[in-house]
């Protein structure tokens, strides 16, 4: 499953990021492999989305979220 498919207020664990530049950027912003990620809010026009990991809190476009493989928490 990829991050863009996760519904609002749900969490998952980041497995892999399939875009090198995006990966380096996200790691430095506190979204690490094996770390938890939560969909905090989806923008009124369905894109972009706000995601959190711990107290790290960023916005990201769905096209980038598609490149993030996750294991959803049930």
């Amino acid at each position: 499953m990829t991050l863009d498919q996760l519904p609002e207020n749900k969490t998952g664990i980041i497995k892999q990021i399939n875009d090198k530049n995006l990966a380096i950027q996200l790691l430095a912003m506190g979204f690490i492999l094996g770390g938890e990620v939560k969909i905090e809010r989806i923008a009124p026009l369905k894109d972009p989305i706000l995601i959190t990991s711990g107290t790290n809190y960023i916005s990201i476009r769905k096209s980038d979220a598609k490149n993030i493989d996750i294991n959803p928490d049930l």
Binding site: N21, L22, A28, G30, I32, G54, I60
Partner: protein
């Protein structure tokens, strides 16, 4: 007792850290007013430098743009990386980190340590740490990282002296963080992060919920709401424009009156003659024309700084990204587009945070279409010619409505032009919108003050130089004529039967027409006649190319040549102006609207063009900008003039 001695060699320190760590606040605390903003060689990212003295040693400080890591993603971050890599061996790097988010912030620290640099770690936001009931074991952290640590609170000015002392006493220290350097960046970064997490888990204790973070999410539920979010944003915009036009009018009236008193005083002080005329009608008239904008510019920059400082601007970017993307722009374009209402120059420089080249370029290309503060006086004076102050439409003041309409026109045209450029400019580069949502906090008033001060300074001195130079050139051009034309005019009226003051007015206007400025205006008159403009407007269009605000100064200089006693305001003089051919009033509805539209669209700012040239590193883009905006201005004015006349 410390003594001031010259044998102490100056030290250099460099501030670096993640965005939103309070680095700029620390920089302001360290250097006070002893700072200046320059540019890094080759790029136009602000380079803030300053200095302070401690125990007789001068310490130079450089503040780098915020960056998350040494793997750069934008122009800003590239600058920080290159600067750090090229620092001297004995330069001290101060890594500023948010004490409440050590795990993320220490990645940058670890990368700098491994560049074999001298590093001092500063933990900022200690007040938030206490508020969030978090604790850090400093001694243990310092030992694990093998680096001195200074906890500070930059906003409350706490720990600043300890930091200065630590800089002063810094002993060289051999250090490294990660010995096993993997060849793959992602793997290496993960190794670093894992090591950092282990260290931090050992020294960091949490005794409750992180309150500021929870509050931030509550605020975001409202601020990014699908209805309230947009309502709040437009409400804030409305409030800002209201403030710019109503609050600023009081100090502006004061400045206006002050300048006319000063002009009167100076003209009585100096003996009549060329010097008096040059100073009063050339320099002071031009100077008054710029100082009067200071209140509006200060208010506008205050609001923009506050919106950014509180963290609200990131949310607006989030709300607007999807919409702006349709037009080839980015959510991050919101900040440049909004700051364009103040001035296109900082706006265009602000576009550097947009990582995608095409989106950044389009933002730069359309930003000058948004009405900037330099257009305010042009709009104000022209609108006053066609609508009186107390006319209203319903509850709205008609003048205010018209100004609002002109702003909207500029904004809509900017979006449409962006959309056209999106179709024309080709790019395969991926577009992203990865932006941190910082925790909300009260604006740091000191930062707001510094920001206003530095922006007003740039405006007064950089723009002021151009305006004064133009005022003087214009005065010379309008006070002299080729050959002995002026003598001929004097002779022509020497036997006039009219009384003396009427004769003087006729002499002055004939002289202006014969002067060099008159010749220039007459030369371009055929080209602008279809727009309803005469040769005097022609002169101001030429001088406005230096900067739009010159329009008012030019009008003042051109029309005061005929009014030796300085009794009438510029508005009254323009109202009374008549066409030299037909004798009809010049500022009719058609001409005034046409001129207004021309100023909405035309690219009349040399300083902006210079910035566009530097930012895009090519002469192509500023040239295209002049041509497309000029064509837009000419055609729209032509259309408007033919509709109204």
């Amino acid at each position: 007792m410390p003594t001031i001695s010259s044998k102490n060699k100056p030290k250099n320190i460099v501030l670096i850290g993640n965005p939103n760590t309070g680095k700029s606040t620390l920089f302001n605390s360290l250097t006070g007013l002893n700072q200046k903003i320059g540019n890094f060689p080759g790029v136009t990212v602000d380079k803030k430098t300053g200095s302070f003295n401690y125990k007789g040693t001068k310490i130079n400080v450089v503040d780098l743009p915020g960056t998350y890591s040494l793997a750069p993603n934008s122009e800003d971050e590239r600058v920080a990386k290159n600067y750090i890599e090229n620092t001297n061996k004995d330069d001290l790097i101060i890594v500023v980190v948010d004490a409440t988010n050590l795990k993320r912030n220490l990645l940058l620290f670890s990368q700098i340590i491994d560049l074999d640099k001298q590093v001092l770690l500063v933990l900022n936001m200690m007040d938030l740490l206490q508020k969030n009931k978090q604790e850090i074991n400093f001694d243990k952290l310092s030992k694990s990282l093998n680096c001195p640590i200074i906890p500070i609170n930059a906003i409350l000015n706490k720990g600043i002296n300890q930091l200065k002392e630590a800089v002063y006493n810094y002993k060289e220290n051999k250090n490294s963080f990660l010995i096993n350097n993997s060849s793959k960046t992602i793997d290496e970064t993960m190794l670093r992060i894992n090591k950092i997490n282990k260290i931090v888990d050992d020294v960091f204790t949490e005794n409750g919920k992180n309150k500021s973070y929870l509050l931030t999410k509550k605020i975001d539920n409202i601020v990014t709401h699908k209805v309230y979010g947009y309502l709040i944003f437009f409400g804030i915009l409305l409030f800002i424009f209201q403030a710019i036009f109503s609050w600023a009018s009081y100090p502006m009236d004061l400045i206006d009156n002050g300048f006319s008193l000063l002009c009167d005083y100076v003209s009585t002080l100096l003996p009549e003659g060329i010097a008096n005329d040059l100073i009063v009608n050339g320099i002071l008239a031009g100077l008054g024309g710029i100082v009067i904008f200071v209140p509006q510019i200060a208010i506008l920059f205050a609001f923009i700084t506050i919106l950014e400082d509180t963290g609200y601007m990131s949310r607006v970017s989030f709300l607007m990204d999807r919409i702006l993307r349709q037009f080839g722009l980015n959510g991050k374009s919101v900040i440049p587009l909004l700051s364009s209402t103040a001035c296109a120059i900082p706006a265009i420089m602000g576009a550097r945070t947009i990582a995608n080249y095409k989106e950044r370029l389009i933002t730069i290309m359309v930003a000058p279409l948004i009405s900037c503060s330099a257009r305010i006086p042009v709009y104000t004076i022209l609108i006053a010619l066609i609508v009186s102050e107390d006319e209203s439409y319903g509850i709205f003041n008609l003048q205010g409505l018209l100004v609002m309409g002109l702003y909207l026109l500029g904004f809509v045209t900017a979006l449409l032009s962006a959309w056209v450029m999106k179709l024309i400019i080709k790019s395969k580069e991926k577009s992203t919108f990865t932006l941190e949502m910082p925790v909300y906090r009260a604006p740091r008033w000191k930062n707001v003050g510094f920001e206003i001060l530095s922006k007003v300074k740039v405006f007064l001195f950089d723009a002021g130089k151009i305006i004064i130079a133009i005022s003087i050139i214009l005065w010379v051009l309008s006070s002299y004529a080729p050959g002995n034309k002026f003598e001929e005019i004097n002779e022509k009226y020497s036997n006039s039967s009219l009384d003396k003051s009427e004769t003087n007015v006729l002499i002055a206007s004939d002289k202006l027409e014969a002067s060099y400025a008159g010749i220039i205006g007459k030369t371009i008159e055929p080209a602008i006649e279809p727009l309803g403009f005469d040769w005097k407007i022609g002169i101001s269009l030429v001088t406005s190319f230096a900067a739009r605000e010159v329009f008012v100064g030019t009008m003042a200089t051109l029309y005061s040549v005929g009014d030796a006693d300085n009794t009438l305001s510029i508005r009254e003089k323009m109202m009374a102006a008549t066409n030299h051919k037909t004798g009809e009033k010049i500022y009719t509805k058609a001409t005034t609207f046409s001129l207004l539209i021309f100023y909405v669209f035309a690219m009349q700012c040399m300083a902006t063009l210079a910035i566009v040239y530097r930012e895009t590193n090519s002469i192509k883009w500023p040239v295209i900008q002049v041509v497309y905006m000029g064509a837009l201005a000419y055609l729209s004015s032509l259309l408007v003039y033919s509709i109204f006349s």
